[in-house]
Point group: C2
Chain length 124, copies 2
């Protein structure tokens, strides 16, 4: 192991921790939707479409724990619950959107690589 | 659902697909280590430390399938197998390192948010 490799390991773990956290599709979708402004639980659920109530609750709770999202309960009947990005959550949008831009630009290359790989694997 | 939200959904899915793919800690570590140049399987394994042979094989196969890594077998005894980032893999390093930079700069804020959240949850 070279010295530069050793130095990079700590950084890698910080990256991988954040990526593991935000790297599930629901988390990214929720953060992106909340990038447009605060939303109620049911608004978010309708926008995402095929997410269960339990999964959305879990996703939001994880984002709240990490300090990316705030949860505000209004004492109406029935109670209204709003979710909103924090300053940290809005900060996170910047590199996430940069990665998103990369993903959009390179999705074709990734899909082509996959198709080629699968064709070779089938032939083998 | 607003129009801007609808437009964003396709982008979100492209992002989340890429994030899901690279968002496990092994994948990020492997891509980062290979950023320093080609490595043999056993060199990679030693650098990462606590990864099983099976998990490293699975991780590398996924990266190869997506077109981020090439695998070259040299017919020595025992066979030598080198892994190297492709042009696409090196491209990917750019946004991944940007996110990594963000992660390093904000790890303290995330950890503080978690500690606060857990303290409140315990008290409740």
């Amino acid at each position: 192991m070279t010295l530069s490799h050793q130095h990079r390991t700590e950084d890698c773990r910080a990256v991988s921790d954040v990526l593991s956290r935000i790297g599930d599709k629901w988390t990214v979708l929720v953060v992106e939707f909340l990038g447009g402004g605060p939303l109620r639980f049911n608004e978010l659920r309708k926008m995402i479409g095929n997410i269960s109530q339990k999964m959305l609750t879990t996703t939001l709770r994880g984002l709240e724990r990490d300090g990316f999202v705030t949860r505000t309960v209004y004492p109406t009947i029935p109670p209204r619950v709003d979710y909103e990005l924090t300053d940290l959550g809005r900060d996170l949008l910047v590199p996430v959107r940069a990665l998103g831009e990369w993903a959009r630009q390179n999705a074709g290359r990734i899909n082509a690589a996959r198709a080629k790989f699968d064709k070779i694997s089938e032939a083998a």
